[in-house]
Symmetry: C2
Subunit: 234 residues, 2 copies
């Protein structure tokens, strides 16, 4: 196996881009880095891949250690491998995005882990190439959300149509016609209307909905166009 023994071995890390939705806008979870270099600066959650871990296992462990989160939706986005992206030693970083319902974890994350949520539209400077990582994770989320009902991972158990509409507008950074959106969403037959209304944001109130979980699973992997109105995206 001469071919193998002559080759270079490279440090491999995982960085996690954690997206949350608070009912109005998409947010990003950041921590202050705990070791040198760049100690104390804002950073994605990251760590090195261990010898006995597959990549997904490493991502799950790192998320758990740094935020206490488990069982959340995660997906690999990209490998970053520029020679000098880490000043200490060449490190390839493989990035994952995670989608969480902010309200479910808000208290735990901020009290136990000193992590903070920032609006995806306005967050502080990040170390290394972490800002490019966030950008790429956002693009991947757009692709996925266009075909799969993935954004529901960001919503609480029950939610209103205006909340869902805000979520789609925010992730596609576009203004989406409300009637068209509502028609497309209903034609997917994914939602179950509840009897209860949310009345904080308007006098008339907005009905709560929940996901039809069976339906959700069955259509998740089919190619399905979820962009409510493509013509508004040019």
């Amino acid at each position: 196996m001469k071919h193998y023994s002559k080759q270079t071995r490279i440090l491999t890390a995982i960085d996690c881009i954690i997206f949350g939705f608070d009912g109005r806008e998409i947010k990003l979870l950041l921590i202050k880095r705990g070791f040198e270099p760049e100690k104390g600066k804002w950073s994605l959650m990251g760590g090195f891949v261990q010898p006995d871990e597959a990549l997904e296992q490493a991502a799950t462990r790192i998320l758990m250690q740094l935020t206490g989160l488990s069982g959340v939706y995660m997906e690999q986005v990209h490998a970053f491998g520029d020679l000098n992206r880490d000043p200490v030693e060449r490190t390839i970083s493989i990035i994952y995005f995670a989608l969480v319902d902010i309200h479910k974890y808000e208290k735990q994350i901020s009290e136990d882990y000193h992590a903070e949520w920032f609006p995806l539209k306005k967050f502080p400077r990040l170390i290394f190439d972490h800002e490019r990582m966030v950008q790429m994770a956002k693009e991947k989320l757009q692709y996925k959300a266009a075909f799969h009902p993935i954004l529901f991972e960001l919503l609480p158990e029950k939610f209103t149509l205006p909340q869902l509409h805000s979520l789609y507008e925010d992730i596609f950074n576009a203004s989406l016609d409300k009637r068209n959106f509502s028609r497309k969403i209903h034609s997917a037959k994914l939602l179950i209307k509840l009897k209860e209304k949310e009345k904080e944001n308007s006098k008339k109130g907005a009905y709560y909905f929940k996901i039809d979980k069976k339906k959700y699973k069955s259509i998740f992997y089919s190619v399905f166009n979820f962009i409510p109105n493509p013509d508004t995206h040019k």
Copy 2:
């Protein structure tokens, strides 16, 4: 930098999934592996990342060395990192897809490099996890092609609408209504009609078209829904 020095370094490879289009169907370029283990078996084009190479540089070099191809469209797809995916030693493989116009390179590839094109719908057994890699590259191509005019990289300088239609049907594995397809493609204003006709496949003939290169570049990175008729994809 104690934190770094204690970590494990891992072999890193690149594997390339090379897609081509021959006017009728999508094809996949494969070679017989030149070293142990699995020497002589069908494989993707691969090689190890060198210490002085960024990932994209390694992918470009490997493609050039094994096929003679250069200047083709390449894009990273995914990192595969299961512990035992390579029986010799743990190796993380980062995969790229490449899109080429088959006719442009047909002779050079088969004569000088002993590589072979197989239909994407029916190709031989591949080593390791290379079949999963092909599947994932195909999915990524579908996502990209839904938003960007990326499939034009697979077409020759001039092509007919029936060819373009076949290409989209083949990659989405769906039957697309011809009139709707034609309307969507023309509304993108990407094509320039030529005076010449292709007459091999019908008496009436089909006009050749070429891409408006300026337009192509300017819309490439905008979010644009290129699925001709999403409702046929359920």
